[in-house]
Amino acid sequence: MKHPGEHQLALFAGGDIAGYWERWRISRHVSKCGDCQSEVRALSEASQQLRAIAPDLPADLNWNRLAEEMTGNIRVGLAAGEAIARFDRPVARRPRLGWNAALVLTCATAVFLVAFWMSLPQQQAQHLMAALQRIRVERIGALVKPAAAPQDEVVLEASSSSLDVRENDRTMSLTHPHSDVVTVSVSLHGSAGVRYVDADTGQVTTNKVYYAEP
């Protein structure tokens, strides 16, 4: 006994079979076939449920497009299943001698380079780095680096020539006239100072810079 197709059963359940003869043939089969009866019953119930929720569906729902999408999804699912099935199949092993040799060679080169770099005196290493950088700049131009992260550090510096508070690329310096004796001092609480005796006035002046507390 040949069962009607799923498409035909769905049309039958909704009362949408076009031809009289076709409708009679399916009706006759369904009345005798338990499987198809239960299928038609399920389709009818689904249809009724759909009618019940029809007011909640969007007014401009495009059933054709929805059907196409669903079909597309089913095809994708089938294709994925096929791919997984292929993946699970045993694959004929190829000889890996070439890759192994390359791996050994790469490791040996890396070990050699690390050992060479570590044995190089610091000055020569820096020289080498500078040379490599110069070559890279000449060949491919300077690399465009992302903008530096904003610095949040404030640096206070005291030297016999000036006293600076630096923040990013801005500096405020307190300067002093040339003096025979300049004393530099810093405090870990966040200040740096320079003391000198003003040759003109004889006054002891101490310039200081501080972190500004918020």
Binding site: A158, L188, T206
Partner: protein
């Protein structure tokens, strides 16, 4: 604090050839009841010029101030801020070892250099305000935002100690004894190594040298109300990080502030004063307290061998009790602990040296006899 703004500098700056940008003219801001008044402001040769990719602004202000009180002024601190250039930092100019009589005038020079990117705003408001004034009787006026009261009071105590010491030398052995002491002290000062120092807060460690922990040794000063018991700091190359100390109050009074001097020794055995580790605390008699600092000291290498720090020594350089009185090491403490070799002379001693250099022994003795 309500203020009286004196912006006479603007007019003077406008007259100056090659004057600085008008926006860069400092605003001088003194409170209404200020014990000093501004008589004049000389902008000097302020200038502004592009250098490389930056704009350099040189600002000079020579202020003439008058003591408007009936008390003698022994110290003054002016705060200097350039908010737009360095919002995270500010500066100050302090004059100590003064003796300004009521109605007398005295000069204060403020010399600054500001460096900003060319493309940045040209508006550079610089403000000079009064942080504090210390009088002869140790009374103080000011908002003390920069703790200038403590700084000037310690300096005043050191000035009194040193004047007394030098007077005692004259009384013992006459002016020649004073000359001998001054010459020895000047020789020590000439031998004292001086290093450039950076203090960094909120930054990342930049030195890749291996870090090691070094214990502090302590110079025990017999009269000190504080006894340092242990201390350690992390050293990596030319950086010293995060010192931790523990101190004990061995006096019978509560202590609210102390400062530890910090001497570093390098591989060659040379010692130099690296800086100070201050601590605000409330330390009852007999109690102990830790002192922790998170900042980093760096000693930039400007040519020559990098500094290799081998050892550290700490000593108590000043203590403030809860009643506001101050302890400082005596001259005997300084001489006994060989601190004199390392620490710089007091403000007053430095001023007296200058008088000796410029005007000779007679003028120095006359100066000591003034007060």
């Amino acid at each position: 604090m309500r203020s009286r703004s004196i912006i006479g500098f603007a007019a003077a700056a406008g007259l100056c050839a090659g004057a600085a940008n008008a926006a860069a003219v400092p605003k001088i801001d003194l409170p209404k009841d200020s014990p000093v008044v501004v008589l004049s402001v000389d902008p000097g040769d302020s200038s502004e010029a592009a250098r490389g990719g930056a704009m350099v602004i040189d600002l000079h202000a020579a202020l003439s101030l008058r003591n408007a009180t009936q008390r003698r002024i022994h110290g003054i601190t002016l705060a200097v801020t350039a908010q737009e250039i360095t919002p995270g930092g500010k500066g100050s100019v302090t004059l100590t070892s003064l003796d300004v009589a009521p109605g007398e005038t005295f000069p204060v020079r403020v010399d600054m250099r500001l460096l900003r990117p060319l493309q940045a705003s040209s508006n550079v408001p610089v403000e000079i305000s009064l942080d504090g004034v210390l009088f002869e009787d140790l009374s103080f006026y000011g908002n003390d935002k920069l703790s200038s009261r403590r700084t000037m009071t310690v300096s005043e105590f050191e000035a009194r100690r040193d004047r007394k010491y030098f007077k005692s030398l004259v009384a013992e052995g006459g002016p020649e004894r004073l000359r001998q002491e001054i010459v020895e002290s000047m020789a020590r000062q000439a031998d004292r190594p001086s290093l450039d120092v950076q203090v960094v807060r909120g930054g990342r460690a930049t030195n890749l040298d291996p870090e090691k922990q070094v214990q502090f040794a302590f110079l025990q000063l017999p009269d000190s109300p504080i006894e340092p018991t242990e201390g350690v700091a992390r050293i990596a190359g030319n950086e010293v990080r995060a010192p931790r100390l523990e101190v004990k109050n061995r006096s019978d009074r509560a202590i609210r502030y102390l400062e530890m001097g910090w001497i570093l020794r390098d591989r060659s055995g040379s010692e130099f004063l690296a800086g100070s580790v201050p601590a605000e605390l409330n330390l009852a008699p007999g109690k102990r307290s830790p002192i922790l600092e998170s900042a980093t000291l760096k000693f930039p290498q400007h040519g020559g061998q990098p500094l290799a720090i081998e050892g550290m020594t700490g000593f108590v350089s000043s203590v403030e009790f809860s009643d506001g009185s101050v302890w400082i090491p005596s001259r005997a403490d300084l001489a006994a602990g060989e601190l004199q070799r390392v620490i710089s002379p007091s403000d007053e001693e430095q001023r007296l040296f200058q008088i000796y250099r410029k005007r000779g022994l007679k003028a120095l003795v006359a100066e000591l006899n003034k007060f």
